[in-house]
Amino acid sequence: MPKDTDRQSAGGSPAEHCVPSDDRAPRQDEALSVERHRKADGRLLILYRWVGKDG
C-alpha cells in the first residue's frame, strides 16, 4: 500500500499565509476602455482596449 509520507508534514499553518486583503485594485475602467456591441444575432460583443492603469 503506497503511503504519502510527506502529506503529514506540509509546513506551516494555513492561517499564517492567509492574510485577507481589501479590494485594492482600481476599477476596470481605469485600465481598459470598453465598447459594448450587439451582434446581428443579438449576441454580446465587447471590445477592450488597454488605456493603462494611469489612463
Binding site: 506540509a10 494555513p14 492561517a15 499564517e16 499565509h17 465587447i46 488597454w50
Partner: protein, 305 residues
C-alpha cells in the same frame, strides 16, 4: 438550449449541449471566425478591421442564460500569435479583461462559478487555432473547485496557501518565480508537466489583486508558456484553468487565485491518455516524477528567456 442531467453514481452534473456538434472545426486561416473582418469582406465574429481584445458570447454555448453563460475571449487580432508570444502589455491587459468578466458574470444570479480557461492544441480538442480562451459561467459549483474548497476544510485553512508554503520550503519543484507569483510542478502532479501558477499572497480572486500582482501574474504565465514551447521545441498543447473563489457564496474570500496547466504531452511525441485506471478508478498513473519534470521545465524556461 442545453440540458443538465445529474449522474447519480458519480454525483456530478453532465451538460448536454448537442448543438455544439455543428461548431466550426479547424477552418483554414482565410475562414477563421476569430480574425478581424477585412474591409469589404464577409463579417467574422468580430466585425471590425482591427481590435485588441474581444469577448463575445459563444455561438455554440455549453451554458447560456438563464442557466449560466459561455464566452470566447480573443487575445489578439493576429492569427499566428499565442498567449506566449503576446506583447507583455497585451498579456497584462488580458488579466484586466479576465477580471472584468469574472466580476460581471459572477454578479449574475444564475452563475455560481466562473471558470476562465484556454485549450491549446488539437491534442486537447482545439477547433480554432486563432489565439483565444473561453469562459464558462456555471449555474452550479463544478467538482474541481468544490474539491478545492473541501481541501480547505480538510486542512483547516486555505489549501493553496498551505501547499504554496510547502513548495517554497522544498524548493525542488519551483520552475519560476517573481515578486508576487510562484510557479511550480505540484508534488502530486497528475500530468508530466502540470504546473500551478500561484499568487504568493492570499487573493481569492482577480478582483482582490493589486495592479502589480496582475502584472506579475501575466508575466509568470508568459514565462511558463514560453518555457513549455521551448521544452520540446514545438508548440506545446495544454489546458489552462484559472481557479478563483465561487461567486455564489456571498463570501469571495473562499478560494485562492491560481492558474493550473494540464499539458497532455509526456514526451515530445507521446501523449498521456486517460485510460482504465484514470477513467474507471479515478487514479492517475504518472510516467514521470514531478521533481525531474520540474528540472527540465525550469531549464526550458531559462532557455526561453
Amino acid at each position: 438550449m442545453g440540458e443538465l442531467r445529474f449522474e447519480e453514481l458519480r454525483g456530478e452534473w453532465v451538460d448536454y449541449a448537442i448543438h455544439r456538434q455543428e461548431r466550426t472545426f479547424l477552418p483554414s486561416e482565410e475562414h477563421c471566425p476569430l480574425c478581424p473582418t477585412p474591409p469589404g469582406g464577409p463579417p467574422t465574429e468580430i466585425p471590425f478591421p482591427a481590435f485588441e481584445i474581444a469577448v463575445f458570447e459563444n455561438r455554440f454555448p455549453a451554458f447560456e442564460s438563464p442557466r449560466g453563460a459561455a464566452e470566447v475571449v480573443v487575445y489578439t487580432d493576429r492569427h499566428h500569435d499565442s498567449f506566449a508570444t503576446l506583447p507583455p502589455e497585451r498579456a497584462r491587459a488580458l488579466m484586466w479583461v479576465w477580471r472584468a468578466r469574472y466580476e460581471e458574470l459572477g454578479a449574475r444570479g444564475d452563475v455560481e462559478y466562473v471558470l476562465i480557461f484556454e485549450n491549446r492544441g488539437v491534442e486537447v480538442g482545439v477547433t480554432l487555432h486563432h489565439p483565444h480562451g473561453q469562459i464558462y459561467a456555471y449555474p452550479f459549483l463544478p467538482p474541481v473547485p468544490a474539491a478545492e474548497r473541501a481541501a480547505d476544510a480538510r486542512l483547516g485553512g486555505c489549501a493553496p496557501c498551505m501547499l504554496l508554503g510547502r513548495e517554497i520550503e522544498d524548493g525542488r519543484r519551483i520552475v519560476h518565480e517573481n515578486e508576487h507569483v510562484l510557479v511550480y510542478v505540484p508534488r502530486a502532479a497528475r500530468w508530466s508537466y502540470e504546473a500551478h501558477v500561484v499568487l504568493r499572497a492570499h487573493r481569492p480572486t482577480l478582483l482582490h489583486c493589486a495592479p502589480a500582482e496582475l502584472d506579475a501574474l501575466a508575466d509568470a504565465l508568459q514565462a511558463l508558456t514560453r518555457g513549455f514551447d521551448a521544452l520540446f521545441e514545438r508548440p506545446f498543447p495544454y489546458v489552462m484553468a484559472v481557479h478563483q473563489a465561487p461567486t455564489d457564496t456571498g463570501s469571495v474570500r473562499e478560494g485562492h487565485l491560481h492558474v493550473e496547466f494540464y499539458p497532455p504531452l509526456r514526451t515530445a511525441h507521446k501523449l498521456k491518455y486517460l485510460a482504465g485506471s484514470e477513467q474507471g478508478g479515478g487514479v492517475f498513473i504518472a510516467d514521470t516524477l514531478p521533481e525531474e519534470s520540474a528540472a527540465a521545465l525550469r531549464e526550458a524556461i531559462g532557455r526561453a528567456g
